[in-house]
Each structure stands twice: as C-alpha cells, then as structure tokens.
C-alpha cells in the first residue's frame, strides 16, 4: 500500500461521507453544506488521477460556483428552519433498496469485467497546455457548442429569473 493508495482511501472517505450526509440528512441546508466536502473529495481524486487542471476546475466551478448557487437557492426559496423543510424518512426506504441492488450489480460488473488497462508508471505530466491544444484543435466544435450552451443557459436563466 503506497502513499497514493492511502490518499485514495482518504479522499474516497472525504467524498462519500458528505455525500451520504447530503443524501440522507433531513435538513436541506446541511445537505447543501455537506456537498462542499464531497466536491473537495472528488477534486482530490482527480489529483490522484493526474488530472491537475480538472481538479482545479472542479474546485472552482463546483465549490465556487454551483455549490454557492445551490445554497443561495436554498436560502432564497425557503425559511430554512421551517418544519416543512424536514424530509420524512419513509420515502427513503424503497429508493435505498433499489439503489443498493443497482450498486451491487454495478460493483459486480466492475469487478468481473476484464479491464484492458494500459497504465504506465510515468510521473504525471502537467496537462494544462495539452488540454488547451486539444480543445482548440480536435475538440474545437464541441468547445464552441459548449460556449453556445453556456450563453444560452445564461440568457435563459436571466429571462427565467427576471421578475416580471
């Protein structure tokens, strides 16, 4: 067990425990806050996978953008301590059961599939410049489409949220 493996387990815990809390905590505000940890954990996983730029972007977008937005929405939309804000437990049983079954199958498939792994043990290279190259050459069209999507989302959100 190398140091990397240890870090993997640590990051996995950082990801999963808040995610668990996020899903099962009755208070939506706590759920939102716990997402914070989960997103950080995923960023750590990215680092472990040698995706430095992705990890940074994860922190920036998810933690800095999306999470803040969600929290805003939570607070804007509701008296956060209100009684109705609590979710009842009963509703979680069936989804949980089904989720467990699904998880079982997924893990079974993951473990039984003969993965064709071609991992080399080179030290991970910085990816930023290569990603930039790829985005502006091979993936130019999706890149542009993504920008249009963002623009559309921007305009759409403004139009939707603008009070009449």
């Amino acid at each position: 067990m190398t140091a990397q493996d240890v870090f993997f387990y640590i990051f996995a815990l950082i990801t999963l425990v808040p995610a668990f809390v996020c899903v099962f905590h009755p208070n939506i505000l706590y759920a939102g806050l716990s997402l914070f940890g989960s997103f950080f954990g995923v960023a750590g996983i990215y680092v472990l996978l040698g995706a430095d730029f992705i990890a940074a972007t994860q922190v920036l977008i998810y933690v800095g953008g999306i999470l803040v937005l969600i929290l805003f929405a939570v607070m804007l939309s509701k008296n956060i301590y209100g009684a109705k804000f609590q979710d009842e437990k009963k509703k979680k049983i069936l989804p949980g059961l089904l989720g467990l079954i699904l998880l079982g199958f997924l893990v079974k498939f993951i473990l039984t599939t003969p993965w064709n792994m071609t991992l080399t043990d080179e030290a991970p290279l910085p990816t930023v410049s290569r990603l930039g190259d790829l985005l502006l050459t091979d993936y130019l069209l999706p890149f542009e489409l993504a920008s249009i999507l963002l623009l559309a989302a921007l305009i759409g959100a403004i139009i939707l949220a603008r009070s009449k």
Binding site: P95, L98, I101, L102, F105
Partner: protein, 682 residues
C-alpha cells in the same frame, strides 16, 4: 358576292372561313364589350350590340343571295382538330348548307329586329347593358348551334343557348317567380339534353368516334349501324335519345312545362328565344339529323308532335295571361312542326319553322308593345285599345291570321303543307289516323284562342280605364320591327304569289325559295293528292274556330262563363293545365327530395346498423343513437369508436401518470434492477 367582298378586304384569308368566323364572332364581341364595359358606354352600349348583330345580319343576307344564285346543291364545310389524343380526335367545324343559311337568316333577322325593339322596350331598366350582353351571347350561341358540323359541337352550343335562356328568363331575378322559372327551364331542358348526350354516346360508340353529320349518315346508309337493346334497334334508340334533346329544347310533351313559366323573362326575350329561335332549335336538330331517324323513331316523333300540338292548344284556351297564351301556342306550333318532320314532311316542317319564326316573333313583340303600354299581362284588364295602338293592332292582326292558317298569309302555306303530308301519311298507314286528327283539331283550336286573344285585347270596352287612359302607341324602334315582321308574315313573301298556293310565280321557281332551296334527303315527299282535302279541312276548322271566338268574345252571344259552367270538369282541368306541374311536383320533386333525405340518412340507418353489428361490438353502445346527418355511421363506428377505445384504455393507463417525476424515475430504476436480476438469473 360575299366571297368577292371578303377577297377584296381580306385577301390573305380564306374568304368563306373569315366570313363565318365574323358572322359567329360579332355577337360574341358584342357580348364581351357589353359585359365588361357596357355600363360606361354611351347609351349603355346598345349600339354595340345592335351594330354587331347587324353585321351578322348583313352577312347572312349576303350569304343567302349567294345561295339563291348558286342553287340548292351549295355546301361548304371546314373543320379543325380540337381535341387530339392518341387514337381519339374531336373536331370543331363549320357546315354551311341551305338549311344552315336559312336558319342563319331567321336567327339574325329576328335577332336584329328584337335588338332594335329592345332599345325601346328596355330603356328604363337598370341593367340595360347587361341585358344586351346576354342577348348578344344568345345570338352567338344560336349562330354557333346552326353552324356546327358535328353533334358534339352542336351539343356545346345547345347547352350555351340553354345558359343564355336561363340568364334571360331570370333577368329580373328580384322577382322570385323569374328566378324559379329560369332554374326550371335550365333543369328541364337539361333532362332532355342528357338524353341527347346519351344519344351522342351511343352514336360515338357505334360508329367508332364519328360525330360529323355526313359521316354518320353515310355510316347509317351503309347499314353498318347495328346492335339491339331490349329488342329495339340501337339506331332507333339513338334517334329517340337525340330526339329527347329536341323534346326538352322545343318544349314538347312531357318536358313542355318550362316554356310557359319562361314568360317571366322580358317580352323581347320571349319573342326571340322562346318563340322564334331557341325553341325551334329542336326542330332544327330533327331536320339536321333527319336521315338518321328510322321509321320507328319518326313515328315516335310524329306522335309526340301531334299530341303536343293538341295538348298545348287546349291549354291555351282558358289562359288569361297574354304571353302564356302565346307560349302555349308556340308549344303547339312546335308540335305541328315535329309532327310534320315525323310524318316525313321534311321541307314542310322546316318551312313552318321559318314562317312561324316571323309571325310568332311578331305576335310576341306586339304583345310586348301592349304590355309596355298597359303595364299588365292580364287580358281581362285590357280591351278596346284598337284605336289607341293602330300599328300594333294591325301587325298583330296580320300575324294572328298567319298563325291561324288563313290564305294570303304565310302560316297557311306551311301549315297546309304539313297537314297535307300528315293526311297522306295517315291514308297510307291508317293505323296512325290520330296524327292528322290531332293536327286538324289543333288548327281549329289555334284559330279560336288567337282570335279570343285579339278580341279580348283590342275590341270591346276598356275594362280598366286607368290603364286604358295611360296607353299610347309605342315609339318607332318598337313599331318598325313589328311592321317588318308582319310583312314577313304575308304569303307572298315566301311564295311569290298572293294566295300562297303557287298560282302565280313572280320570280320563277326561286320565288318559292324555301321549297326551292331545301332538298328532301330522300324522296319522302308524298303525292299531293291529299292536299286539297287538307286545305278544305283546315280552312273549315280555322273558320269554325274564328266563328266561335267571334261569337263568344266579340258578340258575346255565347257566354264564356256559361260554357265554363257547363263543362266545369274540363274547364278546371284546363285552367290547371292538366295538373301536369302538380304531377311533376308530386312524382319527381317530392320523391327526389325524399330520396335526398333518405340518402342523407343512409349512413345513419343502413350502413350504421350493418356495420354496427358486424364490425364493432366494443363500441356498439355509443353508435346507435346517432340521429343527425353528420353523425354518420362510419364515423361513429370506425373512427370515433377507435378513438373511444383508445381514450378508455388511456384513462386507465393515465392513472400511473401522477405527474411526479420521482415516481417515474423510481419505476425506471426498478425496471433496470428487474432487468438486471432477470439477466443474471437466466
């Protein structure tokens, strides 16, 4: 003369063709100008129509002079391919022969005079220019009808004159009666036309596409026209079908009902269309197709004609509407012509058409003049206007004498010929004695009702003094045509001899020009031994008729009321016109409407029940109560039924659509899990 004229002015074109196209085209030009810009022209553009018809008239006269000099063998024809498909051609062509030219002369003369007359008669009408447009259109169609060289072209113009007649009858369409009459005329004549069309179809089928008159005749003459249908030879059947067209157009029994109603139109129209030209088109058709009719078909024609003659004459006896009396008289006279053609008197029948056109147009125009002066058509409100309208009285008197068949007048010549022929026909075939009998009886009746008309209108005391005071003689544009037409009603005009029996011939054989120009297609003319009897008999009948009329309506020694009282049953039948209209109303229209309603409910009742039981037990409960027309069976069963099944099942299935996304997802997830479990188990 005509040819040289055209060669001089239009040297590059074929003179005869251009003459004919001009003859036909001038009224059309008049129509087009009038319908589009007539209102804006000076005097409503009447001069355009009169001018154009005058050109046609002049051309016809020139043509006639040419014909007189070239003799009866004259024939000129030309044709163009009109519809050209593989293995199928239809041609359009012009055929000019003596019959055509005589018809042209009649049509253009009467048209021209009627146009002239209409200037006076219609001058106050708000739709003055439209009236002239329609008249021009009628002249165009009528000229086209006689110029046509094949049956199909003839049929086309045949329908077009029907249209013109419809438009002119319902010219004063604000009057519901006029609108109704126009419709009735068009539909009733169309029933005959359909018969004629079927005849054309039979001929077309039998001769493999020949519709040209001459080729049909030669085909028939060669005996190639075979085939039978229900024991009747197809040739006879085709002839009767063609004759049906003539029955409709010439208002023969049983399709005569439209003509009296057609008197709702303006009087000049009645004179032109419903007395002189269009109704004579049926006679023209029979003349034109004369060689085509088999003896059996001719017998049918003769019986129809003679029966119509007497039948219509009796109906004219009791009518008080001056125009309707004339209308029934027209029907009766057309019957006489048909009878003549039926018994084989080709020349005589056509001759009577020509003379009748002149004097009957004159009678109608005179009646129009009277109506114009008195503003009524009811003879009971007239009387004593002889002094006030001398020209009208004189001309009408001349025409009446002509119609009654009195010597020195044209009607005598032609009618006598027909009656003589029919008599000799009956002498040869005694079983057909009814034909001449009807003919002679109708002569007597004709004389009676015509003189009744004269006496009631012009003699006696004025019955309505207010109208009487208002009366005055018509202007010259109206009286001039009357004078010309009455002159044409004199025997001398047709025979060159005053009495009309050929005792003097002022200009040799050409003086009897109608007889001279018309050649019977086969030697069907009978020896004239019967003519003397016929002459005596018809004169006696006419004399009796006049005498009775004189006694009843002038001297009033016999009271008309008393006679009516005595023969109440007959009188009632006559005033109701034999209940023919009522019969049709009941038999045709009533049943037709019932059939309509029946068919309208057809889907509801019949298809419905059949389809219900057979097709869709699922939706049986929803279908049977459909009562109205639109909720049809097929709809309810197949279309709406399917819809209802879908809707009902949808209603059940819809319950799982809760609108809760999470439930959907849950079901989806469950399904995924289920599938996975199944996959691992299998």
């Amino acid at each position: 003369m005509l040819e040289s004229l055209f060669l001089k002015f239009l040297p590059s074109l074929d003179p005869m063709t251009s003459a004919m196209v001009m003859l036909l085209g001038m009224p059309l030009l008049g129509f087009v100008i009038q319908i589009f810009i007539g209102k804006r022209l000076f005097r409503g553009g009447d001069w355009v129509s009169v001018g154009t018809i005058f050109v046609s008239f002049a051309l016809s006269v020139l043509l006639f002079i040419d014909l007189l000099s070239s003799g009866p063998q004259f024939q000129w024809t030309t044709s163009w391919t009109w519809i050209d498909l593989p293995h199928f051609q239809l041609t359009m062509g012009i055929l000019v022969d003596p019959v055509t030219i005589l018809m042209l002369l009649v049509i253009t003369t009467v048209s021209f005079l009627v146009f002239l007359y209409s200037i006076g008669y219609m001058h106050e009408d708000p739709r003055y220019s439209r009236y002239f447009a329609y008249l021009s259109f009628f002249s165009f169609s009528m000229i086209g009808l006689v110029l046509a060289d094949n049956l199909f072209a003839l049929y086309i113009f045949w329908e077009l004159v029907g249209l013109a007649s419809y438009l002119l009858i319902s010219f004063w369409f604000e009057k519901p009666e006029a609108a109704e009459a126009g419709k009735k005329a068009f539909i009733v004549t169309r029933i005959g036309d359909v018969g004629m069309f079927i005849g054309i179809l039979i001929i077309f089928f039998e001769t493999n596409g020949l519709l040209h008159f001459d080729s049909i005749f030669s085909y028939v003459a060669k005996g190639q026209f075979g085939g039978e249908f229900l024991g009747i030879s197809l040739l006879t059947l085709a002839g009767i079908c063609i004759f049906l067209g003539a029955v409709g157009k010439s208002a023969q029994f049983p399709l005569h009902i439209w003509l009296p109603d057609a008197m709702e139109g303006p009087t000049p129209v009645s004179a032109l269309i419903h007395a002189a030209t269009m109704v004579a088109a049926g006679v023209y058709l029979v003349t034109r197709m004369f060689p085509f009719f088999t003896p059996e078909a001719r017998t049918v024609i003769a019986y129809t004609g003679s029966f119509t003659a007497i039948f219509a004459a009796t109906m004219a006896l009791t009518h008080n509407d001056i125009k309707k009396v004339l209308a029934y008289s027209t029907i009766s006279q057309l019957g006489i012509m048909m009878m003549g053609l039926g018994v084989g008197a080709y020349v005589a029948g056509f001759f009577h058409l020509v003379t009748h056109a002149a004097f009957k147009a004159c009678l109608f125009l005179c009646a129009g003049s009277v109506i114009h002066a008195l503003h009524t058509q009811d003879m009971r409100e007239m009387g004593g206007i002889r002094k006030k309208m001398p020209i009208t009285f004189t001309t009408m008197g001349v025409a009446t004498l002509a119609l009654s068949g009195i010597p020195f007048f044209s009607g005598f010549v032609s009618k006598d010929l027909i009656l003589g022929e029919s008599l000799s026909f009956a002498m040869e075939n005694p079983s057909h004695f009814l034909i001449p009998l009807f003919g002679f009886l109708s002569t007597g009746l004709t004389a009676f009702y015509m003189f009744r008309l004269i006496f009631m209108t012009f003699y006696g005391e004025p019955r309505d003094s207010k109208k009487f005071d208002h009366a005055h003689e018509s202007p010259w544009v109206m009286t001039l045509p009357l004078i010309i037409l009455s002159l044409c009603s004199l025997a001398i005009f047709f025979t060159g001899s005053p009495l009309g029996l050929g005792e003097l011939s002022l200009w040799g054989e050409k003086s009897q020009w109608v007889k001279y120009l018309l050649e019977p297609p086969s030697s069907s003319e009978h020896p004239t031994s019967a003519h003397l009897y016929a002459l005596i008999l018809s004169l006696t009948m006419a004399g009796c008729g006049i005498l009775f009329a004189y006694l009843i309506y002038y001297k009033q020694t016999l009271s008309s009321e008393k006679i009516a009282e005595k023969f109440k049953c007959i009188y009632k039948t006559l005033t109701h016109l034999y209940w023919i209209d009522e019969l049709y109303e009941w038999a045709v229209i009533h049943n037709l409407l019932r059939l309509n309603t029946l068919l309208a409910h057809f889907d509801n009742r019949v298809i419905d029940q059949v389809l219900v039981d057979g097709w869709a037990p699922i939706t049986i409960s929803t279908s049977t109560n459909s009562g109205d027309f639109d909720n049809r069976a097929i709809d309810q069963m197949l279309v709406d039924g399917t819809g209802k099944v879908v809707r009902a099942s949808g209603k059940e299935v819809r319950k799982i659509q809760t609108g809760k996304i999470q439930q959907y997802l849950l079901v989806g997830l469950g399904a995924v899990c289920g599938i996975l479990i199944l996959l691992t188990l299998v």
